[in-house]
Symmetry: C2
Subunit: 574 residues, 2 copies
């Protein structure tokens, strides 16, 4: 974790440098904020030469700490026009850390992007010739890279959508078995990778070692306590059994489940797409189907799954809440098989399934397919760059404008994930104020419904602030959102882990203030890029159109939301 | 000129009120800036309920002053996301003034826009039922309204593109004979009109009178002096003979003529599309062809034309410089007949021909037609709302993003008109800093090439400031850009006209300061809408890619351009 690799995508030059002082304190999202803040002009074309694409493991990447190997990917987003960090599980984050790379920074862009492959190892980095992967789907790309480099390499790659610089494109990676397709999905980072002419990055950690920390005993103790707390989490069993899909039925009961292009918050066919049905179907079908699988080696939570088709063959892995909400109820689709088919198509094309679920909802309302029509929806997910495919692949806002629609569910240029802010108002605050735009991981109030009324106005801004800080800490550490439990119970534990890892002497308050500073760097970039605080709001229809079944509109005043930037940082509570 | 008519496009309610104090001093663009500044939220959805569409004649509208009857149309632009005023010749501006309307303000929007027709007369305003014009082309719309209401009514209307809320849609009007199709083209105001569910506005000035001014003698004297100066302008003969197309050859010589998607500034087939060829062709073909026609009754400049096909039938009227540049050389199209065909299609669909010329250039580079292929380009101008048509009808930036292109000639969301800023750097300053975005009428430095080196940096910002102030004064008065000669020679004349008209006592300095204030109101709206001063620049490729034949790039620093807002207003020079 002591190197920064800089790749010039135009000239092909590769430089390896030691971690500069100003980045030494950061990982993941925190590091990305500082690289972009220093090196990227806020006014640059996100798909032009001035943008930089950064891959960074978190603080705990490369260690044996459970659920800590997430990979952060960042750039100026072509979807939101602001800064973007999207992170993803799978193996690549761990392996990048294990080859000693704190950050891979891709600079400049070629005039004619051509889908090159970059190989990183403990020896440095080099271009791999002759793979001829341009235009290949993500599955085929992973298969061929595995064939060439063996099963132990980490891979990140883009699909045809990213190569075509479609702004709903994500960056894909996979698990140790090469079975799951996982995405740093949001913000169009796949299009940025496409604009750099890089189809895939392969990471060979053959000689890499598990990092034991600058203070191995302290670190080891903290890691053990952390794992024990994760294993003691009462939510663990549900997460293993149902994965993120465990909340489908609850979201429906709360009336916040996006349904038919955000025209309702509950779905009549809910039982067919619930987490319970998902688990039962996987169990009943057997074959390649699995519940409770891990995306990262060593994760004790194991919330992933392999969803099989009727014949037991893998249809998609992993099938998750957001995709069930957006590709399912939001499209009126009533079967898990239908959702899995659409999800698999998005995964193979290299498209963000959340954004595409929003797009399909808009396209269905515009008459391009009936709600509930899996076959019609599948036909819309075309990869060959037809004009319609070009529209859809650019995301919700673009499709809404192309079709002249009013009900366009997006905030700050990005499609709204699986929580309608009219029935979970805290998420409205996060969608509007987070530098990441409408994002389900940037400060999600779903878990706060015991303490803050989801339909009320009071306390939402304060709560969103706390949640956003928490997200930054997790995203800077490389920890999964599902690993938050032990840290909520004992905020000092994250400081203990970071200190043991690097030999620092930070308190939790230092870490919280650092996260607040990260938000500040991100926000400053966005303001300089043209996101004035008051230009951002939920879409007009969400302030006008009551959402069944609660009949609520989004009614938090824009000025009130912006008060979030004046709040003190809580240095006690994670 | 003493009323404001407010139409609620959702409820259908119509209210007529006297001109409020705060608008009494303003007409045209100046009035629009203040209505939008007061009544429209900068963060509203331009195609949503919060936007307002305003029609306003200028100060001199409804009088006998030559070339003074332009109609200003304004709203928050769905293309630029900022304020937009576009103005147009033809008869509607005069007639609106003559029925005593200082401003027609369309508020709110229906859920299901349906193409209604509004009739304005001296008696007030009413909805006209049963026209069934939805989906009709602009020519057919004008024909049927003329059939129903007679030839003496003024009409503004949108085509199918506006009804489909395509953001390259303009607002069309016509001359007294119903021959010309003229456009308040830029900024997507046709889409705003479409979102309001209004297909056409008919103005019956049967009882309207020519305004003689609050001080008739003073006003009459000033008007006479103005007309005499216009008639004495040495440029008059050229303008009558060649129209705006008179500058085609000069633009080519200066190396600033957009050619093949802004990849060159000169065009090898220049002789075939020059103003001289235009005039000769019109003369040789005869039939319905005409040079030196007026767009407004009483105009002494008469720069318009009717361009006939080989059989002498009207192909398009009027064929102008911008359209020759954008639909011609920028698309590699080598014949006036080809340009006329594309122009006529844009006019009938209700699309801004400048924006569409930019779009076709991008589409051609993306491989959707060959440069120079008229038939291929014509096929791209489809009206039926195919996905490709949906992409193209949204303008240059949208098409560039859909096709994943780098060379996207637009500033502030709007396609660049017929002056490449690499070879006419003053226009770059105006494109970037004008609240109107890349606009050929917002402060065009083409006429300044005798005093400021078009390829140099020095003096461009000061010159652009002067030109932008001049534009605001013209656009507030209802005067044509070609009427600037007498006012440059004698700045006090515009004050004399305004004072005679309204009984005011303004100096030229007052008018210049008022214009500067208008720019300030517009800029403040845009900043609040998210246009930070530093987020706007020429597209990246114009700073990177030298433009043949001069081999220059655009090299005025963004900070230097923003210095424009710190300059004093010149109170002596028009």
């Amino acid at each position: 974790m002591d190197r920064v690799v800089r790749v010039n995508a135009r000239t092909g030059a590769i430089e390896v440098e030691s971690v500069p002082e100003e980045l030494a304190r950061w990982g993941g999202r925190g590091l990305i904020a500082r690289v972009i803040g220093r090196e990227v002009s806020p006014v640059c074309d996100p798909l032009g030469r001035g943008n930089r694409l950064i891959f960074a493991p978190g603080w705990l990447g490369g260690t044996a700490v459970a659920a800590s190997g997430r990979l952060s990917v960042g750039a100026k987003s072509p979807l939101t026009g602001g800064i973007k960090e999207a992170n993803v599980g799978g193996e690549a984050g761990q392996k990048l850390a294990r080859v000693g790379v704190r950050a891979l920074i891709v600079e400049d862009a070629p005039d004619e992007p051509e889908g090159r492959v970059l190989l990183l190892s403990c020896d440095g980095a080099e271009w791999v010739d002759g793979m001829g992967l341009s235009g290949a789907g993500v599955r085929e790309t992973f298969r061929r890279l595995r064939e060439r480099f063996g099963p132990k390499h980490g891979v990140v790659a883009i699909g045809p959508a990213g190569e075509m610089r479609m702004t709903a494109a994500g960056v894909a990676t996979t698990d140790a078995d090469g079975v799951q397709v996982r995405y740093a999905a949001r913000g169009g980072l796949g299009a940025v990778m496409g604009s750099k002419g890089i189809k895939a990055i392969v990471i060979d950690d053959g000689d890499g070692e598990v990092a034991r920390g600058a203070e191995p005993d302290r670190f080891g103790d903290a890691a053990k306590r952390f794992t024990a707390a994760l294993l003691a989490d009462p939510k663990l069993e549900g997460r293993r059994k149902y994965g993120t899909a465990g909340i489908v039925a609850t979201a429906n009961e709360l009336g916040l489940l996006p349904t038919r292009n955000f025209s309702s918050g509950s779905f009549e066919a809910i039982d067919a797409i619930s987490g319970a049905t998902l688990a039962e179907t996987i169990a009943a079908r057997g074959g390649e189907g699995r519940s409770g699988t891990a995306c990262m080696t060593g994760c004790v939570i194991r919330c992933s799954n392999v969803f099989p088709d009727a014949g037991g063959k893998r249809a998609v892995a992993s099938l998750q809440y957001e995709n069930i909400a957006l590709l399912g109820s939001n499209c009126g689709i009533e079967t898990l098989d239908g959702i899995a088919e659409l999800n698999a198509r998005c995964n193979d094309l290299g498209l963000d399934a959340i954004e595409m679920g929003g797009v399909l909802g808009v396209a269905m309302e515009a008459g391009h397919a009936r709600f509930g029509d899996v076959e019609g929806a599948a036909k819309l997910l075309v990869g060959e760059g037809t004009p319609l495919g070009r529209i859809l692949g650019q995301g919700v806002v673009f499709a809404g404008r192309a079709f002249g629609m009013r009900r366009v569910p997006a905030v700050n240029g990005q499609g709204i994930p699986g929580y309608d802010p009219r029935a979970l108002k805290g998420n409205g605050v996060t969608y509007v104020t987070s530098p990441m735009g409408a994002d389900h991981t940037a400060g999600n109030a779903f878990g706060s419904r015991g303490t803050v009324d989801p339909l009320g106005v009071d306390g939402q801004v304060e709560n969103a602030r706390m949640l956003q800080i928490r997200s930054v800490i997790l995203d800077t550490s490389g920890l999964c959102l599902f690993a938050r439990g032990p840290l909520i119970a004992e905020p000092g534990l994250i400081a203990e882990l970071a200190n043991g890892r690097f030999g620092w002497d930070l308190s939790f308050g230092d870490i919280a203030r650092g996260a607040a500073a990260t938000l500040g760097v991100e926000r400053a970039f966005n303001v300089a890029a043209g996101h004035s605080d008051l230009t951002c709001d939920v879409p007009e229809f969400m302030r006008d159109e009551p959402l069944p079944p609660h009949g609520t509109v989004y009614d938090i005043d824009p000025q009130e939301m912006q008060r979030i930037w004046t709040l003190e940082t809580d240095t006690k509570r994670f």
